[in-house]
């Protein structure tokens, strides 16, 4: 149990997927102008990362390894994640218009999100069990959601502040992200 807690803290704070490993920079910059959008993106990413991590883990150990085709893990995971996103989008369209309204629009963006694929591959590389893989995926998603939400609140404040012309938009956002990464480095050595 303590190992799972350590894993959670390690992956959500110390080895944050965005600020420490530089995955998912695209949604960090693209969907962080409004905090509401950022939060909805975080929810959608959390759902897809956790479900895809569980499915890819099961597929790797129950199908790819027994068949001796584990070298196909990358292309398998890409196709499984893309198919999963299509299925989830369709499922939400049919069953829950409210959730679709909040989350559905972000799902196509997640198909090309490297964090989802990165987590699936990292779980296999690290040799996690199914439970550990699920906890790791959840921890990574929480880390992503926290960072993108904090980043969006800072960007909202930057919008109403005076910023030199050359720094407006993406440049000041990247500087902000760099400062956040420095702050996050303070967690190093926590676990």
């Amino acid at each position: 149990m303590f190992n799972l807690f350590t894993l959670f803290v390690s992956l959500s704070l110390v080895n944050n997927i965005v600020l420490n490993r530089f995955y998912a920079i695209c949604p960090l910059l693209g969907v962080s102008k409004k905090s509401e959008n950022a939060l909805n993106m975080g929810y959608a990413v959390t759902f897809v990362i956790v479900v895809s991590a569980i499915i890819t883990h099961i597929l790797y150990y129950q199908v790819l390894l027994p068949l001796g085709i584990e070298y196909l893990d990358l292309i398998t995971f890409i196709l499984v994640i893309a198919a999963l996103v299509q299925f989830v989008e369709m499922f939400l369209k049919k069953t829950s218009p409210t959730i679709y309204k909040a989350m559905g629009v972000y799902l196509p963006l997640i198909t090309t999100n490297c964090a989802v694929l990165g987590v699936a591959l990292d779980n296999i590389t690290a040799g996690y069990t199914l439970i550990e893989a699920a906890v790791a995926a959840f921890a990574v998603s929480v880390g992503f959601t926290v960072v993108i939400y904090l980043f969006s609140t800072i960007r909202e404040r930057l919008e109403i502040n005076l910023v030199p012309k050359g720094f407006k938009g993406i440049p000041i956002s990247l500087i902000t992200a760099a400062l956040m990464a420095c702050a996050m480095a303070g967690f190093a050595g926590l676990v």
């Binding site: 299925f87 369709m90 218009p97 629009v105």
Partner: protein
């Protein structure tokens, strides 16, 4: 041989789900929801806001 069957199966699964998803109508009030990602200047990307503006015109 197993590898080919596995890959073809996955491809068909993805294509099938993609077509099924596209044919499923969006719920009421969700037809025109777009977020227009502006994270980069890659205009080839279909999520770029340029495409969203083009669709609405």
């Amino acid at each position: 041989m197993e590898a080919c069957i596995w890959l073809v199966g996955l491809l068909f699964l993805y294509i099938g789900l993609y077509i099924w998803n596209k044919k499923t109508p969006k719920p009421e009030g969700c037809q025109n929801i777009t977020i227009g990602c502006d994270g980069c200047q890659l205009y080839d990307c279909t999520h770029n806001h340029v495409h969203k503006e083009g669709e609405s015109n």
